[in-house]
Amino acid sequence: MDKEVTYRVGIPVTGMRGESLGRLEKVLLMESRHQVTALVVRALDSMHIVPLERVAELTASDVRTNIAPSEMQGFPVFDPTQYEEVPPWFFPPGHHIELGALVTIKPFDVREQGEDEAMTRRAFMGRSVAILAAAIGVSLLVPIGGYIMAAATTPVKDSWLDLGVRLQDLPVDEPVSHPFHAFSVSGWMRVSEERSVWLIRHSGASDPLSEPEDKILGLDSASELSNSDPRLTVLSPICPHLGCEPQWHKGQKLFICPCHHSIYQLNGKRVSGPAPRPMDQLPVRIAPDGSISVIYEQFAIGIAAKKRLA
């Protein structure tokens, strides 16, 4: 009886014919008899009780604690409803266990074996749950993120709008605010909108103001560069400062924004005021019969770069 028997929870339990019954989960103690009566074995599907008289390799006398009854007063009482397994801190080093109606043979203290980082089964299952939850969460949230961003990042399809006006009908060197019908697309809805652009017909390439300022400063995109015409400049009606609408002042031959007095020349060049860049030039095509089409582009306001809004 001086032999100290330590059973590790989780050791395989084998049946009489050598078949696997599962793994040891708990050892039951009948408190009145101070005797171990049964093993609780966890199989894959559920837990089973194996009465001790059916256990071949373990007898009641094998199971002992190395604590004298007098010593037991000093130990904490383990409440089996609070913990699924005996917590590792429960045992003083070198001791086995003592608990209400339940005796669990002390697991090998993994720390004694040098496995400081070894996980308990509970922690392992907890971590598995976290991994599974994260797998579901990520594979759901990633498409949702894309879904939310999808509409905003869908590129606008450029469409040429025929303005219904011909070059030869425009006055020379005199900007005309030309209203037209357009559709603004918002998701699944097309809304009819009234818009306008400034049309400026130039007297000739010799005119110093026939070249748009955007082009001189190199602000234009490839589409704007390839779709320009020396006979006509098309300017956006939106002031690049804060989005007001500059008006043409005939006497001064200047565009003046009523909001903050940004002042521009005929070719959109900023003369004075808070605007960060010239008035925005839009792509234009002129057909052989003189009819004018534009792409109504919109740009970010308040910045020096001519940044197209998607």
Binding site: M125, P143, T154, G187, W188
Partner: protein, 455 residues
């Protein structure tokens, strides 16, 4: 960092004891795979909530935009990935999987005898949740506003209209207008996205609170001592099993959404005579059963009422404490019978969806005159007018009777319904019979409500 936040919260709101209460729930007899269906239902419900909110992001709930917006969602891409179709696919298949999961959960609770004392109240709340699930499926069906949605809802709301006394009022309240229109769609949208989710949240919480009050039923066999000895806590083993189940269901729904994305039929067209509506697959068995039960009202009203009564009264009628299905042969055999019948009826329905009779317009117009001349309106209601002796024929064309069936019905209705009091219109010429059959077949299908006004 995480530990510090946890410690901070623990000191103030005692988070450990809360987590302990939630996770250390004792499970008599230990964790089992058999206990996961309830968690699966909850998981799919949450999945439906999340994807449903996403769909509402881009949905326009009016008849002139609903279809466009769903079509827009179907074509939403992000970096070339069809995220819109994926989200809609998850929601679409999620509703089917939800119905299956609820069915399995109900079946398991029934077979385990877990509805018995003291869990009757939990069972009743579960029955209400089942009704909510069905209502959610039905109300979500209309929202894409395509042909299937429109005609399915016409039939569904007509069934409600058959309920005695209150049916017409309920139908009118749901539809908002005589036919299906803007009001119907916004009613269904509100029901589907505001009323039902609120009720779901409240009742699922109630279901869970009751569950924690009475505790899990545990296995149906075993002595209390054994169950106590093999007791397990909810965390971690049962949680892990639940998590595996959830991952499995999630992957299943994802694969369905990717491999069989939900279709969108052409936009609802109330004058489409050739459309033959079919219900969602989980209503197939009802659909088939309704064709077998005459008069119609018994099936349409009696069947759901009977199912509800059985489900509601079950824990009060079956008071024997014995839970094991092996000692409840009647319960198990009747379950098997119901399941087999549902499966057979569903298969019959899937095989038997027949095209509605193609309507010849000129014959239909002549048929209307035959209808008026023969005085059918004296007994039958049409578009809210006429007698109440015979059934309302306003949408009879959607029932799917063949021309032969209709002709027999005109000249010898007792061949179909032995107790019928309908006179035999034997004086109708074969030409008149054909014309009248055409007219009846067109009712509710084209030029709603009056088929003769179709363009």
């Amino acid at each position: 960092m995480g530990h510090k936040i946890y410690a901070y919260l623990d000191e103030r709101i005692r988070i450990s004891s809360l987590m302990g209460f939630l996770l250390n729930e004792p499970i008599p007899g230990g964790s089992r795979w058999a206990y996961i269906p309830g968690s699966m239902v909850l998981f799919v419900l949450i999945l439906q909530f999340v994807t449903g909110m996403m769909l509402a992001f881009y949905y326009g709930g009016t008849p002139d935009h609903a279809w466009d917006s769903v079509n827009y969602i179907d074509h939403l891409t992000y970096n070339g990935v069809g995220v819109g179709r994926l989200i809609r696919g998850i929601h679409y298949w999620g509703s089917s999987i939800m119905v299956i999961a609820v069915g399995i959960h109900l079946l398991q609770v029934f077979l385990w005898g877990a509805y018995k004392r003291p869990r009757e109240v939990m069972w009743l709340v579960g029955v209400v949740l089942l009704a909510l699930t069905m209502t959610a499926s039905f109300s979500g069906y209309l929202l894409p506003w395509d042909e299937r949605a429109y005609w399915g809802t016409i039939v569904g709301t007509n069934m409600i209209g058959l309920v005695p006394f209150v049916g017409e009022a309920i139908k009118a309240a749901i539809r908002g207008v005589l036919g299906l229109g803007a009001l119907t769609l916004s009613h269904f949208f509100t029901l589907h996205t505001m009323i039902l989710p609120t009720l779901f949240i409240l009742l699922v919480m109630l279901h869970m609170v009751i569950f924690r009050r009475v505790g899990p039923a545990g296995p149906f066999s075993g002595t209390p001592e054994k169950l106590e000895a093999t007791k397990d806590t909810f965390y971690p083993r049962q949680v892990l099993m639940d998590a595996f189940g959830m991952l499995g269901i999630f992957i299943f729904i994802l694969v369905l959404a990717l491999v069989r994305p939900p279709g969108l039929e052409s936009v609802a067209n109330p004058s489409n005579a050739s459309y033959s509506p079919t219900p969602a697959w989980y209503f197939d068995w009802i659909f088939e059963l309704l064709k077998l039960i005459r008069p119609e009202i018994v099936g349409v009203v009696g069947l759901p009422v009977m199912i509800s009564i059985v489900l509601v009264l079950l824990p009060f009628l079956d008071k024997k404490p014995v839970r094991s299905p092996f000692r409840r042969p009647f319960a198990v055999l009747s379950t098997l019978f119901v399941l087999t019948s549902m499966l057979m009826l569903s298969l019959m329905a899937e095989n038997g969806y027949k095209k509605l009779v193609p309507v010849d317009r000129t014959a239909m117009l002549r048929g209307e005159k035959v209808f008026t001349m023969s005085g059918c309106i004296g007994c039958h209601t049409l578009f809210g007018k006429g007698g109440k002796i015979g059934p309302d024929l306003s949408e009879e064309g959607l029932v799917g009777h063949s021309e032969h069936w209709l002709t027999v019905q005109f000249i010898n209705s007792k061949a179909h319904f032995p107790g019928s009091i309908m006179p035999d219109f034997t004086y109708l010429t074969p030409q008149q019979q054909h014309d009248l059959a055409m007219y009846i077949s067109s009712l509710g299908r084209m030029g709603w409500p009056d088929p003769t006004k179709a363009p």
